[in-house]
């Protein structure tokens, strides 16, 4: 399967093909009704509410709009509009036909959407309830697992199942295994039985094993679900708000050479497998729903487009242009806000930075005169694998007195934690509390090249005579290394310290899935993924490795 047209990530409820979003006061219904003929790529039918990337992009759009456009919503019911089937999970024919990087990228995006749902429950007071009104398998159950509560219809036939291992020879890739034992605390022996049973578990046993929270009779199912949602809404700590803000289309300009947004320029250098992503700082007076929100949406969109559509561009160079003072002033408006929107913007920027953290591309931050790596934007540099700061005048104007600097602010000290629960500075200086204390004293003022080096905040600070050569050689050298080894190395270096649900999903689970996807037992001509639905049995290489 190859895509000919680039994938886009902006959607609107008016044009959803696969979902229905209904808001009724403090409760929203998000009903899955997948259009069988609506696959993102030709070659498969999306039967039984199975999903592909296109379905999930709409799902993601809905979760974002619920947070920004519907601040009054305190509980979200995820259910199916089809009879007797909740969701059959990721479409198998799509997976079987997809190239490796597409499968992996798809898993990554769906995971990020599921994590976003949990983030909404935890930090936005929008609690998700899965109303499982029919059979629920694989990725379908993983959608349910992302919700705070799982209600299963008690019809004596509907099941929840993770049949990937027995049927497909792969893993439940959207956090399924991890959430079963870590989040729902299913006993590991029962989890083992569950995850190896192709038919899954129904009714009372599902409750006893903690796979679901409650059984709900078929008759009066929707009413019961709604009342549960209202109960959860009543417990919500969502900050009060009358009116949301509209997430208007971004309308970027797309060319063969890159993407231009209002605050972001993305440029491609294909011969060198390079993307330059330049963030433009704010202008004008700080507004709450101004620059930072718009920038975050653009950054989110840019990351997703690049990840999906440009797998060959393996190194992203992160730059900024603008006034660091203005960045801090704009950021301050959001940081000091105690309202729902400030909260949403901060968490959205946090999730977007996390998306950067788990992006399997080399990230290099270039800090040059005229850049504005301050506070929240400095987090971009800390998300990068290396940071280079130009110690000297701008390259094209050697008489200029302008010098590059970086500025730490409150934003760098815990506002935007990574998936491991630590700030990027805590991750950078893991276990070195004295150093973090020192850094905290150096906040809110521009740090020169020499100071940035001394404080360990940049990898290197070449001067104007060396700059171009050093950067060229670093980037060229990078491009010559094995992309697979780099992916593995970067993912290991980026996440120090404690394991969390997220680090386990993106690290452990994804790594295993990656490996399993490329093995003949899954993807070979006689592998389970290929033979699924053909009536033929998969042939396994029986050696355990």
């Amino acid at each position: 399967m190859t895509t000919t047209t680039p994938v886009t990530f902006e959607r609107h409820p008016d044009t959803y093909r696969h979902w229905r979003l209904t808001v009724d006061g403090e409760v929203a219904w998000l009903e899955m009704d997948v259009d069988e003929q609506g696959g993102l790529v030709p070659g498969y039918e999306l039967k039984l509410n199975s999903y592909d990337l296109g379905v999930d992009i709409e799902f993601y759009d809905a979760t974002q709009r619920l947070r920004f456009e519907h601040p009054q919503v305190r509980a979200v019911i995820v259910t199916s509009a089809k009879d007797k089937v909740f969701c059959a999970g990721a479409n198998i024919r799509m997976l079987a036909a997809s190239p490796h990087e597409w499968k992996v990228n798809f898993c990554k995006f769906t995971n990020e959407t599921r994590n976003g749902i949990e983030d909404a429950t935890e930090f936005s007071g929008q609690t998700y309830v899965a109303a499982v009104n029919g059979s629920c398998a694989g990725g379908g159950y993983e959608i349910a697992l992302a919700c705070e509560k799982i209600l299963l219809v008690d019809d004596n036939s509907s099941t929840v199942a993770l049949p990937e291992v027995p049927l497909l020879g792969v893993l439940p890739g959207t956090g399924g295994l991890t959430r079963v034992v870590d989040k729902r605390r299913v006993r590991r022996d029962l989890a083992d039985v569950f995850a190896t049973r192709p038919d899954g578990v129904k009714g009372r046993t599902a409750v006893d094993w903690r796979l679901v929270d409650e059984l709900v009779p078929r008759v009066g199912f929707r009413e019961k679900v709604l009342s549960r949602a209202h109960e959860l809404a009543a417990e919500s700590d969502r900050l009060p708000a009358e009116q949301g803000i509209e997430l208007a289309p971004l309308e970027p300009s797309i060319t063969d050479d890159g993407i231009e947004y209002r605050h972001i320029r993305v440029g491609y250098d294909r011969p060198n497998s390079l993307v330059t992503l330049t963030v433009l700082g704010p202008s004008g007076e700080p507004e709450l729903d101004g620059w930072l929100l718009r920038l975050t949406r653009e950054l989110d969109d840019a990351i997703l487009r690049l990840r999906t559509n440009e797998p060959d561009l393996g190194t992203w160079v992160l730059r900024t242009e603008g006034d660091p003072e203005a960045v801090l002033a704009h950021e301050e408006v959001v940081l000091s806000g105690k309202d729902w929107l400030s909260n949403e913007i901060l968490h959205y920027y946090k999730r977007t930075l996390k998306r950067l953290d788990v992006t399997s591309r080399t990230l290099i931050a270039l800090i040059e005169p005229g850049s504005c790596f301050a506070g929240s934007l400095l987090e971009l540099a800390f998300a990068a694998d290396r940071q280079y700061l130009l110690d000297g005048p701008p390259i094209d104007d050697e008489d200029s007195p302008e010098r590059a600097s970086i500025t730490l602010s409150e934003a760098n000290f815990g506002v935007f934690p990574m998936g491991n629960g630590l700030s990027r500075l805590e991750s950078r200086f893991y276990g070195d509390d004295d150093h973090l204390t020192w850094l905290a004293r150096e906040r809110d003022r521009p740090l020169s090249a020499a100071e940035a080096v001394e404080l360990g905040l940049v990898t290197d600070a070449p001067d104007d005579l060396d700059w171009e050569d050093e950067i060229r050689i670093a980037l060229e050298g990078r491009a010559s290394l094995s992309p697979d080894a780099l992916t593995g190395m970067e993912a290991n270096h980026r996440f120090v310290g404690p394991e969390t649900l997220e680090t386990k999903i993106f690290g452990r689970l994804t790594a295993w899935q990656n490996w399993i996807f490329t093995r003949p037992n899954a993807s070979g001509p006689e592998g389970a993924l290929r033979r699924y639905g053909t009536g033929q049995k998969a042939v396994f290489d029986r050696k355990r490795v």
């Binding site: 060396d466 060229r472 990078r478």
Partner: protein, 473 residues
Amino acid sequence: MPEKIDYDAKIPNNVHLADDRRLQRALEGWQPKFMNWWGEMGPTLETEGVYLRTAVSVGRDGWAHFDHVNVPDYRWGIFLAEREPDRRIAFGEHAGEPVWQQVPGEYRADLQRLIVIQGDTEPASVEQQRLLGLTAPSLYDLRNLFQVNVEEGRHLWAMVYLLHAYFGREGRDEAEGLLLRNSGSPDAPRILGAFNEETADWLAFYMFTYFTDRDGKYQLGTLKESSFDPLSRTCEFMLKEEAHHMMVGTTGVDRVVQRSAELIREHDTYDIASHGGIPLDLIQRYLNFHYTVSLDLFGSETSTNAANYYTAGLKGRWQETRRKDDHKLTDDSRLLDRPREDGTWTSEELQAILLLNLDLRGEYTADCQTGVNRWNKILADAGIDFRFALPHPGFNREVGINSGHHVTPDGSIVDEATWEAARHKWLPTAEDLTFVRSLMHPVYERGKIASWVAPPRQGINGKPFDYEYVYLT
């Protein structure tokens, strides 16, 4: 205002030094350290002027200028051979592409390593030879020693230039490191073993300049083929100067053999030690030692590093462009003689690309043989039956497939005890070294020469032997 430095006058060059701020700054940091190093590690003997050749351009005629120079004022310069505008990569996977004028990021580490290793050998020989000025057999020889030393110094500059101009801050650090390591230093020795050996006497000096500098010639020859054009051009020009060092070695050994032959004839005995000459078997032992130590410099016979360098286009073969094959070598094979535990030799067929060090060593050995033939001709002309010979390549080796085996000079594999018992017949003994050293009395009178060596047939730059090549203090 600081005084403006006239770089071109101070440092002769053809790399536009006067316009290159980065290079100027790098050299301004490095040059005083170089002068300190020269003061501490350079020739011990002070002079008021040495008749030296200074490279002043790269043109076909008149690239060198001769004059008496106070050695510390020697103008070490930076010269690259002229650029061939359409030069193409001659081998490896990039064959046919234009050569590189910049270091490709992909090969930065490898290229830097190659240049550092080459660079590390250049000041090493200066350090090894620093005491020799005190015992020179003639003013002519003393002058040659200084010439070799300042040119090794300039070759260091050549490598430092590459590090400074193309490798950024790391390159500057490595350039400084070249001055921080010292030959034989227990803390920071030179990178390659042979460059930590002593050159204690003038016979050793002639042997060194014949055998070990000749290794340098072949290494430079492979780097001259490099796809990184500045390295290629630098090495091409270095080879021009290197030829003189070979001449010092070749004619130096010639003159010792010549003198020994005269003494043998005169006294009708091979035992000329008591007559102030160096016996032929002792010369053979020196030859055995310096030849085998130099073989070690070629590295292991099989080398995946060398293969990788070749495939990447970093380092070619000797006279790569004259070779008639596919210049990729992945489909060719060659034979490698390997010693076996049972004392026999076996021949193994391997991919040619894995045997590049052996290929280069083969070229080197053939070249070394011409010197041996030349010295034997002197003996034949004198009616003396003794003949010199290069020992078997497995003899006395610390590096490669023969290390750990005990191979005699004629190629027999013996046990350790047998080998050790005969060692004194093959390699210089402590007595040999003491004896040669006992002959090393300085002769600084114009036109005079020590007892153990014949005067040269020709002087330098058309000057006679009795020219005052060195003004002593």
